[in-house]
Symmetry: C2
Subunit: 284 residues, 2 copies
Amino acid sequence: MSTESPSEIRTAAILGLGLIGGSLARDLSARGVRVLGWDADAASLRAAVEEGVVHHALAGDLRDVGRADAVVLAVPVLAAPELLRRLVPHLDGVRLVTDVGSTKTSIVEAAQSLGIGARFVGSHPLAGDHRSGWSASRAGLFEDARVFLTRAPSTTPAAMHLASALWTGVGGRPELIDMHMHDVQLAWRSHLPQVVSTALALTIAETGTVPADLGPGGRDVTRLAGSDPAMWADILVDNADALASALAKMSAQLSELADRVARGDRDALLRLFADARKWHQQGP
Amino acid sequence: MSTESPSEIRTAAILGLGLIGGSLARDLSARGVRVLGWDADAASLRAAVEEGVVHHALAGDLRDVGRADAVVLAVPVLAAPELLRRLVPHLDGVRLVTDVGSTKTSIVEAAQSLGIGARFVGSHPLAGDHRSGWSASRAGLFEDARVFLTRAPSTTPAAMHLASALWTGVGGRPELIDMHMHDVQLAWRSHLPQVVSTALALTIAETGTVPADLGPGGRDVTRLAGSDPAMWADILVDNADALASALAKMSAQLSELADRVARGDRDALLRLFADARKWHQQGP
């Protein structure tokens, strides 16, 4: 792991010190970047300063954010556009504004309409797990993680370069992707599995079954039910259109299986389960 | 791990040498029990003999099965009743007949109606994973595993004692449970998660997404899709009634979440996700 600072970024402002923002602050700080920090939770901000990860706690009006080369919004996706609006008057010296949200279209469109599209790059690092908050943050979270980068219509090559350097500097692997394609892909690959896992947990919970009653398989399938509710409520609402199609297909598939079970159609079940296993056996 | 032989069982016949039957044969053989073996797949039976796990390969007519103190059926659940019917004329010296299936009502009722209820105990060891077959079998599979035991109306205390000794001898923890309660519990705790995981895999597969495209969460939720199709087609058909209720509740829960997503009802989603996390946080 490199200990050089991400090229050209001497000062970074991290707004939101949860699992992702806190971990990024740790990695940047460890590489010699001066970190300005802010969090809605005063205790998290104080802890980050006391641990020496955040060098300067930003006041709530965020007016000092302009001292940073790069500003990273690491707040829930529905809170990000409003935070971005509040930042706009204070971004004078800032060369890159980015975020870490699991949906990209809404925040990129907000940046464009606020007139800061040139300096804005939407980021989505595929890192983290079902834990959340400053206490879950840790060094090295982005090591070898894919990081999706999405541009606004007016994003400059210089801003893209800086965003790429930011994530490469903490071990990530940036990939450029169209923001709409990103959101549709994530609806199927991430948001759908999350909703299915939560729905299964709620269904099982109604019977009085506790997690310890499940075997290893059942525990795997319900693991994502432990995810952060506020973060996910935001993501689902923000990506509702793309997710609706995925959920409709999932419901239809579940109905087909239920119908085959009810009819005792062993041949059809065998065929469907064989198709699913064939898919699973592709790896990774 | 004890290396004594399970008390009172000197010779055991294992019919079906897949993951469960093969692993049981390995453990019994290692503890000095003489193992008579049979498998529908000649190559598996030959391998088990060549490895010294099975001491005597039973002929297809199974007439020598009566030499065993205990007979274990370790075949798919829909095949078990017919195999049991074929065994009946040859069970003269046998003091225990048991099985390893994931459903219990149908096999226990078959044993009772075939007139061998006194010597029959239904077993269901909670062991194994999504791999299957002789090649997946291994020593120690039942170490510390829960093993559900279900009695027929006429099962004798002596047969119950022998079944308990069989599983305790290979490291398992036997628990007596009513056969109907077993099947309903398993529908919710095991069969439902299996169907949900398979349905999700089939849904995602339709988009051209491969497992490597998923994050760790999505891979957890789809892991059971790799399970043995033939084994599961049998289980689902055999437990269709209990599973139908569970699937109906799951569909309703998924519909409710989809409806909240479509309406952008963040408060309701937050509440539902918080309920699911609260359930998940009960451990284990």
